[in-house]
Symmetry: C2
Subunit: 202 residues, 2 copies
């Protein structure tokens, strides 16, 4: 497709744009485009419609940074959720992942990334000011820092712990350990050492 | 996402539809949806537009069965292509693949599948009648049966060879052999036997 035009510009453009969707590359974008064209009524039309709807309606929640079709989002307005517990995540995808796990009935705060001075991402580029404001509001008693176990994530966690020190809230983090269903043989030494250190009574 | 709603229905619907795109599953559909939402202006809007355009403009070529935005398609109306050589393929994706290889300046005919009596696909379900009509027109001198090297593809090739027998056209098929860049050790015996049988002078 790159060197020679073999179909109308609308089809070429569809393929080019599909190739930018994460999970699809140039090859699978062609396959996807052809599938969509073949399933015009069952898939292409509904998907084009759903994308248009998302374009019109998706908002960033001004309270927590989540994406939703309402502002504040469904989670922030959910009266059944405990407003005293706030789970801080890097990204909306992490929020979704924790919600799928479904074990905490808490509210969230989405940072929108991690501190990365080399990339020009300081505290002002993340949703940290709004987090401090929420905590200063006085309703929050525990903050769970559910950031990734990467260097950037942990740096961000330390920075937040410092910033939140004066507010008298409990700051916790996710446990390290063996993933459920995981095999020891495939785990790195750091995880195994952490799992040993945090061992619990059987 | 399946058990618990965590975002507005428009986002859920976008994820559900993206999961039906080949190459994306439920997990990557969530990732794709989030990426699209974040890149609203750079990706979601253009992609929604491209899908709308494709919906409006994509046609099936009434001559060869290709998909394009014009009917007849760009290939059928390309005056530089030799109208005497017709490459018969199962699917539009095969046409695209051969065009990318770009070594033949021929025209195409897309069958739309292979004969498969068990699935109720007989000659009438494929674009075979239109193929016979094109050949009966007298302009075609060679038919290259570029069907897959599968049982279904070969069955269809044999059927077509029978049907085309009376027209005095040369019917050829793609060569079997070692893929370019392929390692012998990873090839099946059938391919190796065919490559040996069809060996050429070095």
């Amino acid at each position: 497709m790159s060197t020679k035009r073999i179909a109308g510009p609308e089809i070429e453009r569809l393929i080019q744009l599909l190739a930018k969707v994460p999970g699809l590359g140039p090859r699978s974008a062609r396959r996807a485009a052809l599938h969509l064209i073949k399933k015009k009524d069952q898939l292409l039309a509904p998907l084009a419609g759903a994308m248009g709807d998302a374009l019109d309606k998706v908002r960033i929640c001004s309270v927590c940074g989540n994406v939703d079709t309402t502002d504040p989002c469904m989670i922030c307005t959910d009266a059944r959720r405990d407003p005293a517990t706030l789970i801080v995540v890097e990204d909306v995808s992490d929020l979704w992942a924790l919600e799928r796990a479904g074990s905490m009935n808490a509210r969230f705060h989405v940072l929108g990334g991690t501190l990365s001075p080399l990339d020009g991402i300081g505290p002002d580029q993340l949703n940290i000011r709004t987090l401090i404001e929420r905590v200063a509001g006085g309703e929050v008693t525990e903050i769970i820092l559910a950031v990734n176990a990467t260097v950037e994530g942990q740096t961000t966690a330390h920075y937040l712990t410092d910033q939140l020190a004066g507010f008298g809230v409990k700051v916790t983090r996710l446990a390290h350990g063996v993933p459920v269903g995981g095999e020891l043989d495939y785990l790195d030494e750091g995880t195994l050492a952490a799992a040993l250190k945090s061992r619990t009574v059987f």
